[in-house]
Symmetry: C2
Subunit: 482 residues, 2 copies
């Protein structure tokens, strides 16, 4: 194996040194050519001679007189068609280097294409193979459609596939969209810490952090205290929300769950917001719904082709573009937990888990509720007090005691967001947790917040079944590739 | 101590229950008032009656007939002036609740202010104290200017100070600015992982990650292999740059350095970019310089008052607004390492560390070079090959072998960015590191990238001496508060 690798190495190096393997030279332009990205070339705004495009070959079709290439550089799903004259003997001799996956630099004239399939094509004066790719070793084959599961085995190469490069562009745009929403609504972004001495929800599944090397000695912690990877930025947002009435954070969070499910990762991204001077749970549901719609509208508008690829060819849920369009138009209904339990109990569906008042809503219940509400997102509010964490605000209702908490359930995914008004009343809180107290001593105000699972959001709008397919480098138990 | 806390608790709770402690009622408006953030109120666009503002009291000045408050909600440095009529007996009785740090809700009429200090003021019809604050316990005192070092002791309260809330707004805006720069220049944002099985630079100081609880057993790693917190997203960006010619990442990175210095944190933010099809080091310096200027221009334009506070009152470097303005206007000079060493050797300055060719540039050298270049940012390129990591591209020059690496040195801080063209030639690389090889097998192209320390960037443009003062929750050896 190592033999094979070094052999390929030296070939590639030779290629680089004689960077002048030219295919189909028509004329040599002395003027520096205009560098264009593929997306710019496709826009048709820069028709003319002496244009340079660099990218990776996505297809090669030699025909009678010409060779046709598709070149992609990550700037768009659609590749640029390149046409090169085969009559040059150099083309004939070097054709074997122009393989699927190889990297090329093409200079030529950008012209309107005579074909309907693409708006423009690049008539090559010069093609240089900058990086070779041995198609025998390359795990993706030309013209073959590889399943997401197959692709996932090659973390260092999956960005070379159409599906995953579309995902990366969508993820980048969705990130921009989330930030834009909060900025336009006057939220300040806070970089909440990854390493924390606090375990937030008292959740068991924490990763601990210590310098690698010698064994950890109890009284010699690096930070003097045990330190963990954050499971939520909420506490730190709450700190800042004591002076800023609107704050948010968007970053990675961690759970050491020993799970191989399609729904869980050890490292995943969360959008979390905290709002001060809240008066009711509607102060939260409004922001959740607005953010969902604003971000989705942005993604749909900016990633038309990429989203289309998912909706037409890759989605694994039983829905597609129409479901997303319907979500955007509907006003998300709000039902209480008590109403939700009533709906479940009145249904003819046989559930595996119980549906008595006080039960935790399981995925099967969440999916039923979403379907019941017309396959649209639905808010469920006022959960039993005992189901929610210590910081959720006590509704002080009787006889069934509930907390001012809310979950947003969406098609295909189930729970997308979870939030609550926070208990700002020190005496009520002190009964539950001593640690949290000092945050409430100085000008404590009613506030609330929520978190949205960013991968679940992408699954929801794209219809992707497995969470590992919407994150660049998935981490889960027994897997940390690269 | 705990006694005191619970006592305060019950007072606060009482306050909440009788949320109607009204100060200076003139008339009671039945119509729902228009909620304004302080920044909106200050803009003067919403003059008129029945306006509601919520925030924290930053100053209280009772005078003959009126009480004057300054209210801040984090949306701007400038507070809103509130004027309330003292003739109401309720004001007189409840004045003691209106303390520095307490949270209030004020309804009234927004009017042009007769004073020059502020554009508008809010004539209160109703003031409700929503959260009390005992000024005796509160660590910050009205009208006192607290040093950054003092403030740092109260991680859960430092956002209540002017200096730190300005910093948080600037940091949020600078984050937006960095993302905007890359988006406008067609870079795709990649969420590179925090947990990695790779140690990137082979740097020693890594944090290891395992689920907390039972001791780690060698063959039972959670991820099946040892896993660490990332020290750089470079490797993962390089992976993606095999299909996307422009990518970047912006997130936390980690070093388990046992350092208490003003320059180091265990958790800090890095902006990293990777560009494919590079032809020379200028492909990198151009992006570094453009990004620096574009982000700084955005921050200066959007945070005028906040930046002013730093430049006028808080800066600790020997420079201020003029230095920043000069940086923005200068074209950053580029010198080679060899030229830099010549400059150092020709100078009359006595350096602690040696300045022979081959030496590492220390902070004292970096600061001298910056001063030598007119107190402006300066690029140093082509470092000795042996000083740079294995992936830096060999310049193959003689007799002094150098690598195509570049650092950006800036006033006050020293090294702000470091980057290099990456060694894309498999045979040269294979001599150095086996692991890295598979990335170069399939369509490998010349590429390069760099990283910018985001905290150092903020220190540089604001003139802040200690890195702990430009991050919301600093983590360093022996300290992980909250």
């Amino acid at each position: 194996m190592f033999q094979a690798v070094t052999k390929t190495l030296s070939v590639a190096s030779t290629t680089y040194v004689c960077r002048g393997i030219l295919l189909g030279i028509r004329h040599y332009c002395k003027k520096t050519p205009t560098k264009l990205r593929v997306s710019q070339a496709l826009s048709g705004a820069d028709l003319g001679a002496n244009v340079k495009v660099q990218g990776w070959v996505r297809s090669v079709r030699p025909q009678k007189a010409n060779v046709f290439l598709h070149v992609n550089d990550g700037s768009s799903l659609q590749p640029l068609q390149v046409v090169a004259d085969l009559s040059s003997p150099l083309v004939f001799l070097s054709l074997r280097l122009l393989t699927f996956g190889s990297a090329v630099e093409v200079t030529g004239s950008l012209k309107k294409s005579p074909h309907k399939k693409q708006p423009v094509e690049l008539e090559a004066d010069q093609i240089t193979v900058i990086g070779e790719c041995n198609p025998v070793d390359f795990p993706f084959k030309i013209k073959e459609r590889h399943g997401l599961e197959y692709i996932r085995q090659f973390p260092h190469l999956r960005c070379r596939t159409n599906a995953f490069s579309s995902l990366l562009r969508i993820r980048s745009e969705a990130t921009t969209a989330v930030h834009s929403y909060f900025r336009e609504n006057d939220f300040v972004q806070i970089h909440t810490p990854i390493i924390t001495s606090n375990d937030c929800e008292g959740a068991g599944e924490l990763f601990q952090v210590e310098p690698s090397g010698p064994e950890i000695v109890e009284d010699e912690y690096f930070f003097s205290v045990p330190a963990f990877l954050t499971v939520s930025g909420q506490l730190h947002l709450e700190v800042i929300s004591g002076a800023f009435s609107r704050v948010y954070t968007f970053g990675p969070t961690f759970r050491a769950e020993n799970s191989q499910s399609r729904r869980h990762l050890a490292e995943f991204y969360m959008v979390e917001a905290e709002i001060s001077f809240t008066e009711s749970i509607e102060d939260l549901t409004k922001v959740m719904e607005d953010m969902f719609k604003s971000a989705t509208e942005h993604v749909l508008a900016h990633c038309v082709e990429d989203v289309d690829l998912f909706h037409k060819h890759i989605f694994s849920f039983c829905f597609h573009k129409d479901t997303v369009d319907a979500m955007m138009k509907s006003s998300f209904p709000v039902i209480t937990y008590t109403e939700a339990v009533d709906i479940l109990n009145r249904s003819s569906e046989k559930f595996t888990f119980p549906t008595d008042w006080g039960c935790d809503l399981k995925t099967e219940h969440e999916k039923y509720l979403v379907k019941h509400c017309g396959n649209a997102p639905v808010f469920v509010t006022d959960y039993p007090y005992d189901l929610k964490p210590f910081y959720a605000r006590d509704n002080q209702d009787h006889p069934e005691r509930t907390a001012a908490a809310v979950d947003l359930l969406v098609p295909g995914v189930g729970e997308l967001c979870g939030g609550s008004l926070r208990e700002e009343r020190l005496d009520l809180l002190s009964a539950r947790l001593e640690e949290y107290l000092d945050l409430r001593r100085f000008g404590s105000v009613p506030h609330g917040g929520f978190g949205l699972g960013f991968e679940r959001y992408l699954q929801c709008i794209l219809g992707v079944d497995n969470i590992k397919d919407v994150i660049p480098f998935p981490r889960f138990s027994h897997s940390c590739l690269l």
